[in-house]
Assembly symmetry: C2
Homo-oligomer: 259 residues x 2
Amino acid sequence: MCELLGMECNVPTDIVFSFTGLRQRGGRTAEHADGWGLALYEGRAARVFLETTAAANSPLARFLSENAIKTKLAVGHVRKRTRGEVSLANTHPFVRELWGRHWVFAHNGTVKSARALKLGQFAPIGTTDSERAYCHLLEGLRSSFSSYPRKPADLWQAVSSIGRSIGSLGSFNFLLGDGRHLFARCATKLCYIVRRAPFGHAQLSDDDVTVDFSTVTTPRDRVAIVSTVPLTKNETWTHGEPGTMWVFDEGSLRATLPC
Amino acid sequence: MCELLGMECNVPTDIVFSFTGLRQRGGRTAEHADGWGLALYEGRAARVFLETTAAANSPLARFLSENAIKTKLAVGHVRKRTRGEVSLANTHPFVRELWGRHWVFAHNGTVKSARALKLGQFAPIGTTDSERAYCHLLEGLRSSFSSYPRKPADLWQAVSSIGRSIGSLGSFNFLLGDGRHLFARCATKLCYIVRRAPFGHAQLSDDDVTVDFSTVTTPRDRVAIVSTVPLTKNETWTHGEPGTMWVFDEGSLRATLPC
């Protein structure tokens, strides 16, 4: 299994605090030591940091914790391999271009019958069920629209419909970013929090780190964080209902759809 | 304009020495300070480090110079913008997936009529002539073969044919990696060197750094380096003939094609 981390905001925000918590779960406070990745968007483009080693011990992960990069949308993952060897090609998040934007995807769970999922324009590079499911999902979107949908709700419905279909084949918790939205499907376990004014202190569960968000934000900032398990021990996280998908935009939960 | 750096080897090799030279040219010894990128393959998958700042002053670029990552195929770039704003989406190298492998591309020059180049399955995310030319090139390959060509020479011919066609529209020096080959087209300026036994000392042109390759190699290692200008001052580089393309595989120059 693996753990997921997503962030979606209305102003560029650094993910250092949450990523510091996640990376402890990559080999120190949890066993997800078979690789990690972090995708950070700037507009419609994403850059993706990937390694096949344990995030808790990674100099690159430490570098990212010490050199804040601000972004409105991020997707992170620490991997405990189930299917597919430990390799760069099998390391989440996966990224593809569709309609002139990067789509970034990370998965927690196992889609047992992934081999049965039909492919089209997007082909897996590695050997995970996750990447194959992702390619199938993107192909489903591509064949549903000729370009990025003008009505966001049409896209939300399509993602939830394809996600539910894949989810019937196994455990399919996922995060999907498109440069604007963060889609977050709960199959078994997922939670979120939206931080907004009045901002307070937060204390990581996995490391001895506390931050006072009121010193690094403005009153109009909104930051949504999605995680497999709560990353802080003094805040109230909302737990997902299995078979639902959240859609975040501009740091707000915009929809909760059956999925 | 920009500068290119490619490496293609028969054993995993770190690119630290050459990248240290290139990154000086990103704002210190040359004016290419509008971003930089470095793609490093593991098999058919690549990870790409990108920044929109000057490589010479970049903590991330310094980190990569100090934390060697071994690879058989790498493509690097430092940018001096001509067309397209300074942004992540406009930062080379660009990457797309085709036939279950990453294709990585970096360009030096300006393709003036790039807007006239037809697109198909691959859409630009940014606004550069470079990315549009790349999408056109990949579409040309995709429409020429149903899968990765079994005969490498068929692929080489196709890349050179499409490259020549785009090259007729402007200045199109490029590096293209597919996880196996490094394709290097010379429109105006490009050079290469293949380092092999007996290995000797090399001294960077752009920094006070010398390396004794005999201490970090085995007798069967072969490392091809391609660069816009020679990176060392005590070695003999082969300069490209405008309108030709080199193909490197396993650290050897396999073909020089009209392009």
